[in-house]
Symmetry: D2
Subunit: 474 residues, 4 copies
């Protein structure tokens, strides 16, 4: 399912280009294809080789930019960012990229992920006299770069990256080149493509298709890659570790037309659905998926189970930020908002409803109710991922542990609470085999921490949960 229905807040999207006369336009289209990774803010910084120019704002990519603004951002290199969370206009200050000016040159950063030792680093930096204008981890990285003080900015970036821990896919722009880096565990995706003579980088490969670029390679864990007029310069700032890419990218976060480490996301999801049909079969008349992110798994389940796949749930396409929520009274009278069940499809039927994950369980409960009201005889909920019982500290906002329904309730309790006839999750093994990463290889694992509690990095006592940070909580 889509994040906004779950109340989930997700991570961000990063895009960059070096060596193209239309750098700002290319970045606009790239960010646009990453819009699902963050709808709350967007920004682009360009370099025209002499200076950096920035524009950013709250809202969707096509709300923040217009043709005049894009044209004013002339230059041949650019990095851009779409951002996930916020409350209020004043949160503008947290929009990325962040740009820093100094008498020796400018620096812009865009970052996807979450650091686990940001609090400690920030305390230390403040002690040394640094001041912070934002609440983002990105500013911590910038301070560390500045304080490294090497004559070559690349050395300063490498030095800074040895100090931060957690998840980061980072793009850095200076006047004369662009740098990208990935954390040593490779928790977030980041890929490089080629567009004529120019290079592009993107959180997801779908952006390459949109801008007409060809996929070149993924950025590997612990790499710092400099892109300038000569091409790519690859360095390692950290010893190679086993990659533990976030499983949730496959389960629901990435776009189905992206490949993550060369595995197509739609295909992976469809396999998860098939695997789920093998593990948890049920006699039923129709299979339906919660749009948009569970469609692929539902198709797979239906195909494997030999039950017709149908559009049993329809999403209203025009619900934007300005949509007026129905009052409590109207909601009780049955006014729906974003999703409705198709009576003509589910009435009198035994329905298998596929969802990609359950966090708090409120959305699933609401959808089961929608299906029942539309006349479904039976509703069997099948979840194409294992129960989420641990919080994520790497940028996926799956809430704090107390709010994760699977961490406090049994499967049967959850099933009863959502009013379903049956409920099954995919097993962790099913998840791994469904995605099909060649994980016998040394460097090709995946992060399963939210299911298993085995975090690939240290989690410090002071590690901020990203959601707390946003709210300014304790």
């Amino acid at each position: 399912m889509l994040p906004e229905i779950k109340g989930l807040n997700e991570e961000c999207g990063v895009f960059g280009v070096w060596g193209h006369v239309d750098a700002s336009h290319i970045t606009y289209y790239g960010l646009h294809s990453l819009q699902h990774r963050g709808q709350e803010g967007a920004g682009i910084v360009v370099s025209d080789r002499e200076k950096l120019k920035i524009h950013k704002g709250m809202g969707l990519v096509n709300e923040v930019f217009n043709p005049d603004i894009l044209d004013s951002l002339s230059g041949t290199g650019a990095i851009g960012h779409v951002r996930y969370t916020t409350a209020g206009n004043s949160d503008f200050i947290n929009c990325q990229p962040l740009q820093f000016n100094s008498q020796t040159g400018s620096l812009a950063l865009a970052h996807n992920g979450n650091l686990v030792n940001a609090t400690a680093l920030k305390r230390q930096l403040e002690h040394q006299g640094s001041i912070f204008q934002t609440t983002s981890d990105t500013e911590v990285i910038a301070h560390l770069i500045k304080r490294s003080g090497y004559p070559d900015i690349k050395d300063s970036v490498k030095n800074a990256l040895t100090m931060v821990k957690g998840a980061y896919a980072l793009a850095v722009l200076v006047e004369d080149f662009m740098m990208v880096a990935l954390d040593p565990n490779g928790l977030r995706p980041l890929s490089i493509g080629k567009l004529g003579d120019a290079y592009v980088v993107s959180s997801e490969t779908c952006a390459f298709d949109i801008v007409g670029a060809e996929f070149v390679r993924e950025v590997h864990p612990g790499e710092l890659i400099t892109i300038d007029d000569e091409g790519l310069h690859i360095e390692e700032f950290s010893p190679s570790t086993k990659r533990t890419i976030c499983s949730m990218e496959y389960v629901y976060f990435a776009r189905p037309d992206s490949n993550v480490e060369e595995i197509n996301v739609h295909a992976a999801r469809k396999n998860l659905g098939k695997q789920l049909a093998i593990e948890s079969p049920i006699e039923a008349d129709v299979v339906t998926g919660v749009p948009d992110s569970s469609i692929s798994a539902a198709i797979g389940y239906a195909e494997e189970a030999g039950i017709p796949y149908e559009l049993g749930l329809i999403k209203n396409r025009y619900v934007g930020r300005t949509f007026i929520q129905p009052s409590q009274a109207l909601r009780e009278q049955g006014v729906k908002m974003k999703l409705s069940a198709v009576r003509g499809v589910v009435e009198g039927k035994r329905v298998v409803m596929i969802d990609d994950s359950i966090v708090r369980g409120t959305t699933a409960r609401r959808i089961v109710k929608l299906l029942r009201e539309a006349g479904a005889k039976e509703v069997h909920v099948r979840i194409s991922s294992p129960p989420i019982i641990n919080p994520c500290y790497y940028g996926i906002d799956t809430s704090t542990k107390g709010e994760l329904i699977a961490s406090t309730k049994s499967q049967q309790e959850i099933c009863d609470e959502m009013g379903a006839d049956s409920l099954s999750y995919l097993s962790v093994n099913g998840l791994m085999s469904g995605i099909g990463r060649p994980d016998t290889m040394e460097n090709c694992g995946q992060c399963l921490a939210c299911f298993t509690g085995q975090y690939p990095t240290d989690i410090y006592p002071e590690t901020d949960h990203p959601y707390d940070k946003v709210l300014g909580g304790k």
Copy 2:
């Protein structure tokens, strides 16, 4: 496929409610669910029993209305409209509902469809001294009502409806009641539902699910139904004729969760896909549909053919009116806009691409190209409706005859032009049996004019093609 990709302009959506304290809010949610029928303008008129109040504007429903505006539209009866076409802000004047004030009471009208004798009526009315501020047929109906001059407005409406010819689903609001009427051929859909003690009317039944109402009945051809505090009052203003509802409502225009004359639209489309698989089978690896309107047919084709259904084409969800179109140069470099092919799904595969219809053929050609560029080995185009060879005069903008590719080129020429490996259309009989209307019955036919040229009404020499009217052309 969706209209905006085809450059098609479609008809409109009408919604109304009588007897609910939150009439404006209910209408807002109703119009919202009809948004696919018109994205260019929206309006609501309410009655508070003493006077009518109106608000309308250019844009989506949730751009035109905000909470303050909805609250200011207090009243217990309302009609609303979403509108399809436009050029420029000044076209505000054509937004509906239209409201007319007089010393004896006010009158508001909202109308879906297109009259075939509007030009002649207008000439006659102008000759008699009427002046026109809009270019819409609705104003013609209003003038006719006013000139009828009966003491009871219902008689004036009936009198006016005997003079207009063509397609219309009409909602009329006065201070004390609401009226709805359907043309004698029933070319457009219009249904009545019940929401507690209140009645609602809607172009499509999906709105009933959204606002929590229950379906009561369709408005039948030639009926004028008055809804007041006593309930429904049904009259016939025209002798009953065979209903010829527009086939295109099933093929691509209505929402899949609507029922049109008690046939679910998704189910009908899936059947069209199955029928198409029976008529035009092909050996292939994957079936994919052009989002959003061809998904159901693609599922049906895949199920019948036993070929896996996949998400081979992805639509970018965030393309709005303000989206910046790529320059010609960028488009030639491969920058995509709204739709992209999923390389991970189609690369090296034989693809069956299902589309619901072909008008000018430009979109299909572009999609075939997208699939080829993404590595499809073969592309077989299957269209879930027959060739469109005649223009529509009833509100579906399928362009003038010269622009209908199927009216000037052979099937093989079209196939070659779009670069497909094969192309097949559904037959007219396949269309009828796929939709499955019980058309042996006297009153249950369907309009097939755009395929067969057999128009259910007279077409006058002066009949304006609606598209011309919009452009103000000759």
Copy 3:
């Protein structure tokens, strides 16, 4: 003083141009200089010789138009309008110009003034089958033109004008020429200028200075002037009567840089101030005027009285529609809004405060209070016009008679109520001699009805007070 402080609503402004390649731009600048005549809505219709194109909207001229819109309004003839009153966006429908389309050609009208027999005409037209979409008098004139039915539109316009009574300065645009007309009493100002080979018309001559045009002549009462590529064609549609131009144009409504019937408005106001000093002298230390409209009179009073003129009251320039009004609590604590008294100027001084008129008296009371709080020892109020004791039916909204403080209270009561040390009005004779119209001439009178009750036209029992019409009241 400015209308917005008094809660007065005023009449409108009309501008037109014929024969200039930049007709829409010229009209934009013209309307801009007439903005003080109406801040609530603006519109322009252009003719490109083949058709009319319109754009209008709620708000200030530079809110309604942008460069793209102006450019899209290509054409060599144009009329425009700024509008005074309204509540809510839905009042868009009343924005002018109004445009009417017919199969034989289009017609646009812009109108300043108020008809006194509109209600009767409307009833008659409705009886004959006309329908009304707006509440403006302009639509009545349009219906009358249409129903006149002469082959030559000029004859129809003349015919229509013989039926309407009241105040109107009217501009009419058709594809091939422009017409302007003034009511037989000449209640409203309307002038013609020349800009190269083009002609311009404007409610006030200040617009000629702004667009670089030269004054040619005023439109005389009862004239219909057609302006086409040949130049001016002057006809009389009504026998000549004595002109009775609205005195309030001189007193406070027109811009000081306009000439009304060749008398400069600033000079007239300064003379009113001098006359007032002669009629009502007082010993004082400083003279100050209520900005902006009473400044000229204050300068005149000071000069005649030999008392220094000072800026004792300052208006805050940036108070727009979106200004947040202080809460009652804050207002009681002394938070001011638009106007503040200058302590450094008035403290310990005997102040003569000049205002141009008193309607309800609330503003004057507030200003006296401001001056006292700023330390004024004495406050002597001098009004540069006679007491207003009768409502205006010609477009100046001086409220209904009950609300006119001078119609219900004695001068001493008013003085006490506003807390002034003394209060004097200008006499009617003083007003006439101050303005200095050569009224011995037959055709050069002025309307004094709001002071004297002698209306220059019949006032019908059903005459709508314009303010009622706006509110939709009885």
Copy 4:
């Protein structure tokens, strides 16, 4: 004249309040009355005793704030800022107040003025690892405060202020109190008022009148005043020096209803006009002033010279940021923009035109031309300040020396160039005696550097001219 006509950019305005439940609203009205000091950006930070909350943006005060935003800024202390310069939305980052967060508490700063050693301080701070996100001097002060590292923030502020040189009126907000400080030369005005139990601070006293507060005292040069729930705590962070307040505050920058060091600005300007009439008399028919800032001087000149004061020049009130500039072609045809001459007043007359200052001379030339075109027989320009021949480094943007017309041309050359019949400036002695500061006193001087070149502080070789900084130039 007003800055926007001259292309001058000026300094800023600062406002603050401590101890009022409606702190954000009070600050809104205060900033509103300071709007003339900066129209490009506005911001407010409030303290609710637990944390700071901020909102700021580009535009006028009433564009940046709406009721919801003000209400969300709940708290009892607030500081606000209006800002003068900018180009483009991306300059948002330079809007003030700046807010800095740290684990030990937050800090917000708003600053009016310009530092002369900012470049050197910045270089040193960057060398120590500080990074800069803005180009404003305020961020330099913040870094210095942070690096001071005293346990008591007041000590850190004092320490920081000993390092900065130049002009500053500074407001600092932390959770529990507010601080204000003025540079040791007192180049900028800053006053304290009382509003019930609350204290307010403002760049100008006009804000006190607007919010209903009483003037208490000016902040003296070199003072740091802490305002908390106990009241005012006054400290000196610098030995007392002779005050050298900017003369331009009197000449044209401050509002006429403000008092600067207890001298009313209107009265001072009127005296400058009188002094000018004594120094440079001329035989003429009318005196007129360039609105708005030269009106007071014109009144004074007229009164002293015994020549009638008239409104010979009118400013169009509705020219906002969105006003569409006339094309070159239209300008050549005579289309005016913001200012027009009143033909009815100046035609055939010998006109004395009073302006407050001349920077580049382009505006004065344009106005002389306007007057001539409107028929003035003679135009005598009288400037109510001495020739500006030196740039300002303290925040008044009088351009670089090369662009100051009086630094490169003789008085006669300037007179010829602007097409005037005569030109006179006020003498420096005339300026001083006109303003009337009691400058025999030790601590009551004024800065005359732009006239005399005698700067009250050191000017470092690296001193940025503020205008350069804005443009990012070298």
